[in-house]
Amino acid sequence: MLVLGIETSCDETAVAVVNKNRKILSNVILTQIQEHKPYGGIVPELAARAHLKQLHFIIDEAMKKARINFTDITAIAATAGPGLIGGLLVGVTMAKAMASVHEKPFLAINHLAGHALIPRLTDRVKFPYLLLLTSGGHCQLLVVEGADSFNRIGTTKDDALGEVFDKVAKMLGLGIPGGPVVQKCAEAGNSSRFLLPRPMLGRTGCDFSFSGLKTAVRFLIEKFPANRLTSEDIADICASFQLAATEAVVDRTGHAIDICKKNYPRINRLVISGGVAANTKLRRCLKTLTAAKDFQFTAPPIDLCTDNAVMIAWAALEKLNKEQINNKNDDMSFKPRPRWPLSQKNQLI
């Protein structure tokens, strides 16, 4: 069983081919191709037009790398939400068109389900498990009970963590993407020089809030005379911010583990996914937390934590595994959903 997956929900244009034995036959992301600039070096931009221009090249590339043609493919899957509507429309329409021409089933995949299920491909993680999904657009704690059964037990009330990293980087004039650059600056910094708030620390439940921390960083920067931040100051601000953000996440995740122990005694594993899972400080602290709480810890490889199409193809394979392929025809009427929560259940809080 072989699935072609398409991911266009945000900035990345990505296509991958994956089989049911967890083998990644190809994994093409435009930003990688970018290095070779075979198509004129167009940077993926916000507009749907960019996805539209690039997508068919990337599909060709992914199929060539996987050494397959359409007759080999079992189904075609695309991210159908949540995300930016223009990009979603491009990916979904392309997938539907290919599916009808080649008479294959089309599968509409939730981007968050992709992030949630990828550790089952990379680390053979068994259901159920606790997932911390944190990226530029999301920050959630989910109980993953099955390929189509998720229970969200915590979410950000305002900004996503990756977004706050980006905005802190912007305020410090460090450029984007903020995650890697703030982490790099923080390495040389003193994290105890500035005391920043740990949002929601100690509160019941496991929701997040980061906008207060963002505002606090802003006030901190404004205490310095304009343009008088030394590289040492910047490093210290980054380190202090990263520590505050990490401690907030660790506190919330600790609560989530406690909730699991009480309500889901079968769960003994925390998995992280999403772009912010690339942050090594966060990984280290979560490892310590899980060890202290007698939980296993799994973090997929960084290139499969950030947005990619492997996770979309894999989520489709999980779906196919559960359902009859023949029942998938009605998915052709599926409209992209810019907001598409995995679960609205908040039954524990």
Binding site: L46, A47, D159, D166, K167, S211, R218, P338, R339
Partner: protein
């Protein structure tokens, strides 16, 4: 909370997030389809706080309104009208906004736009401009509302 009437609008001095939310809810009572609200202010000043209270004050089910910086546009279907909540923080070229459906929003919904300055001259003149700024303290803010003569009349009693 203090309120000052100005020549082309009003100015509020608010002490807390609760005040900001109150003003947003009052604005929600007087808006209608095709209105454009341009919401500017620095990072962390509370634009999304304002937006969340505004969207939820329009008749309809309680919505989870998160910062749209990453997805750039979120559409909320309220009971009587749709709200297009834009955040152009990441917009590189003003003309990219057309791909995101600004014309559609301007014509058939309420548009609520964070980082409207990134739109440059594509921001219609008939917009209500709201500017939130810091005022020394951690929670104190100034909220300025201004716009055309029509808007000045409409917002007078907020």
């Amino acid at each position: 909370m203090q309120k000052k009437n100005k020549e082309n609008g009003i100015e509020f001095f608010v002490e807390s997030e609760k005040d900001t939310e109150l003003i947003a809810r009052r604005l929600a009572k007087i808006v209608q389809k095709k209105d454009i609200v341009a919401l500017s202010g620095d990072l962390g000043v509370g634009k999304t706080v304002f937006a969340r209270a505004f969207i939820n004050a329009l008749p309809g089910a309680l919505e989870e309104v998160l910062s749209p910086s990453f997805p750039i546009l979120q559409i909320y279907e309220r009971a009587k009208v749709e709200v297009y909540h834009f955040d152009f923080f990441r917009l590189e070229k003003p003309e990219d906004a057309f791909e995101l459906g600004i014309e559609e929003a301007f014509g058939c919904a309420i548009s609520l736009i964070e980082w409207p300055e990134r739109l440059d001259f594509f921001l219609p003149k008939k917009s209500l401009e709201i500017e939130i700024s810091f005022l020394g303290g951690v929670t104190e803010r100034v909220i300025k509302m201004s716009g055309s003569k029509v808007w000045s009349k409409r917002i007078r009693n907020i």
